[in-house]
């Protein structure tokens, strides 16, 4: 049995359903792997964990992973279970916002901690400054929940299609009271939830093999979750040690996540990679990454082996 530690990007929830399913259903075991899943949290930067030796593989968004690469931490994408982005900006309709041209002068909630890159790229493609002022937007560092919208402290907030959006709905605001801007629709989508490892470890064929088995089992998990969203949600719930998640919310999240993983067999599509890099490079005066990371930032070595 080989030990593998996976560091998640966020707390235990259906967003990571595939991995939990693979663990619960013994897919990892069948591949000869002994997998430990470490939940994340608001102040856990998975790249830092992997740099400190706390994990073998991490779930991370590509903008953050590429930025880490520029900062001197050579992360490499080995698989990309999420084919499309779930990020969007959700606004209250009664603020009168109908399109991006209405943003100037508004207050927008944004996640930081490495998750602000897609937003910053979008704004710079729109040519809207993000440092306040009349022609720019006022940016709030959004906390963990959707309160800023409910309390009307912000006109729009960042949400994920599978999570925060539904929290807004659950809070009693109907869908027609909301205006949403999906990053996918705006043409500024970046890749989310990929699997990353440290570059030098890929020189070891044994490690590559181990990761291949890991990716294979994980994708099995995702496929199973796609077919059995309710059971998958219940598995996630079982792993939630805080006891804070609710059944209804996780089942719904599993369904929404399925729409994002659909269309991926686990291998990274080089076109998507290129599109993400171009979006990030487009960031005006202060781009997220200053130069093209090159193809060393991803590899098919693992996923090819996994998909044999």
């Amino acid at each position: 049995m080989d030990d593998v530690t996976l560091q998640l990007k966020w707390v235990t929830q259906a967003q990571f359903g595939g991995y939990y399913v693979a663990l619960e259903n013994g897919f990892y075991e069948e591949e000869g792997l002994n997998v430990t899943i470490r939940p994340g949290g608001p102040d856990i930067a998975p790249p830092q964990v992997i740099a400190g030796g706390g994990a073998d593989v991490i779930v991370e968004w590509m903008p953050a992973a590429l930025a880490a690469r520029e900062a001197g931490l050579p992360l490499v994408n080995i698989a990309q279970p999420f084919a499309s982005s779930g990020m969007m900006l959700t606004c209250l309709a009664d603020t009168g916002i109908t399109g991006p041209e209405d943003f100037p002068g508004r207050t927008l909630g944004v996640w930081f901690f490495g998750n602000e890159f897609p937003f910053l790229s979008w704004m710079s493609t729109l040519g809207i400054p993000t440092d306040g002022g009349d022609d720019g937007v006022e940016v709030l560092r959004q906390g963990f929940n959707v309160d800023p919208l409910l309390q009307r402290q912000a006109d729009c907030i960042s949400t994920m299609t599978y999570n925060e959006y539904w929290q807004v709905i659950d809070a009693g605001i109907s869908e027609d009271e909301l205006v949403t801007f999906k990053y996918e629709d705006q043409g500024v989508a970046t890749l989310e939830d990929g699997l990353y490892v440290l570059e030098d470890r890929l020189e070891d064929p044994e490690f590559v093999d181990k990761m291949a088995r890991f990716v294979r089992a994980s994708m099995r998990g995702w496929d199973w979750a796609l077919e059995n969203p309710e059971e998958a949600a219940m598995i996630v719930l079982e792993f939630d040690d805080t006891g804070a998640q609710t059944e209804q919310h996780q089942i719904r999240m599993m369904r929404e996540v399925s729409q994002l993983t659909a269309g991926s067999n686990g291998a990274l599509d080089p076109d998507d990679f290129e599109r993400t890099v171009q979006t990030l490079l487009a960031g005006g005066s202060d781009p997220v990454i200053s130069e093209h990371p090159g193809d060393a930032a991803w590899t098919h070595a693992v996923s090819d082996l996994a998909l044999q």
């Binding site: 707390v11 235990t12 470490r38 939940p39 994340g40 949290g41 608001p42 102040d43 856990i44 930067a45 830092q48 964990v49 400190g52 030796g53 706390g54 906390g143 963990f144 929940n145 959707v146 309160d147 409910l150 309390q151 929290q167 809070a171 009693g172 605001i173 109907s174 009271e177 040690d241 805080t242 006891g243 804070a244 998640q245 919310h249």
Partner: protein
């Protein structure tokens, strides 16, 4: 003790009254918005009823918090699927479980922090070099926002193979050692000149002076420091429970509530934490009373 009951009840009643009264205007906005969305007219009575029973209130009513506390302790353990009655172990959905996780780490961190604070204070009082060089850095250490360091500390410690209670306890110790140092440096220096001179005439050694004069004389300062230290330790643990993966403990519970905007869960965890803190402080107070009585200093 019994003499305290009436005053405490009075104060609590007043606070509850103010709290209830505050719930209405604070939560009313939401009630009105909801009514407007549904297109119904609300009487004052409806508004009051609604503001005191919302799912995600800005300010939950006291009885809601109490209900939630009850439900997530007694009810969860006795009736819950994972409760101690059904499984023989504490349920991970109950505040008893999370409270215990936090409490045990708090005590460990407090013990470490107090020990370190005492050692430093003694060093500072007895050694000029330490007095001159360590104190400014102890101060500076407290200005470092530990939350920023916590993930790094935990990552590093995990890499070295230290997991479980200890990383959390280290962060708690980091926060709680400082009040002990500040208080004890002053306390150990509190004996007056004559008391010190007396020991000088006996040619008492440093350790003897410490044991027989400085420590006893510093007791009032020590206990004031310990009370703050133990409260700080709890804060430290709760802070540390975020980056440990936020899986268990009152801090994790608070945060989880906060991710999902579960105001009631936040408040009940908050109260559980306050109950733990208050009982710990009360415990230190009890030890203080007993010690001072033993020393003949209580009147």
């Amino acid at each position: 003790m019994t003499r305290s009951i009436l005053p405490v009840l009075t104060v609590v009643t007043v606070i509850l009254a103010i709290w209830y009264a505050a719930c209405i205007p604070v939560n009313a906005q939401w009630t009105r918005d909801q009514a407007a969305r549904a297109g119904v007219e609300l009487t004052l009575r409806d508004i009051v009823a609604d503001t005191l029973g919302q799912q995600r209130p800005r300010l939950p009513a006291p009885h809601q918090v109490a209900q939630e506390l009850w439900a997530s302790t007694w009810v969860e353990e006795t009736q819950g699927r994972r409760g101690i009655v059904n499984t023989g172990t504490l349920s991970n959905r109950s505040l008893i479980f999370h409270g215990w996780v936090t409490l045990s780490a708090t005590l460990l961190g407090f013990a470490m922090g107090t020990a370190m604070g005492l050692v430093l204070a003694i060093g500072i009082v007895h050694n000029r070099a330490m007095d001159r060089s360590v104190m400014p850095w102890a101060i500076a250490s407290q200005t470092i926002p530990i939350l920023a360091l916590a993930p790094m500390i935990i990552v590093v410690l995990n890499a070295v193979g230290i997991t479980g209670l200890i990383p959390k306890a280290i962060i708690a110790a980091y926060l709680s050692f400082f009040p002990v140092v500040v208080g004890m440096v002053k306390g150990l220096r509190a004996p007056d000149a004559m008391q010190l001179d007396l020991l000088r005439t006996y040619n008492a050694s440093g350790p003897e002076t410490l044991l027989k004069l400085r420590l006893p004389a510093s007791m009032p300062y020590l206990f004031a420091s310990l009370k703050i230290g133990i409260a700080a330790s709890l804060v430290g643990i709760i802070v540390a429970e975020l980056p440990t993966g936020a899986v268990s403990g009152l801090g994790a519970r608070l945060l989880a509530g906060s991710y999902f905007g579960q105001t009631l869960q936040i408040w009940s965890a908050l109260f559980a934490a306050a109950i733990v803190a208050a009982s710990l402080v009360g415990l230190v107070g009890l030890v203080q009373r007993i010690t001072l009585r033993r020393m003949g200093m209580a009147t």
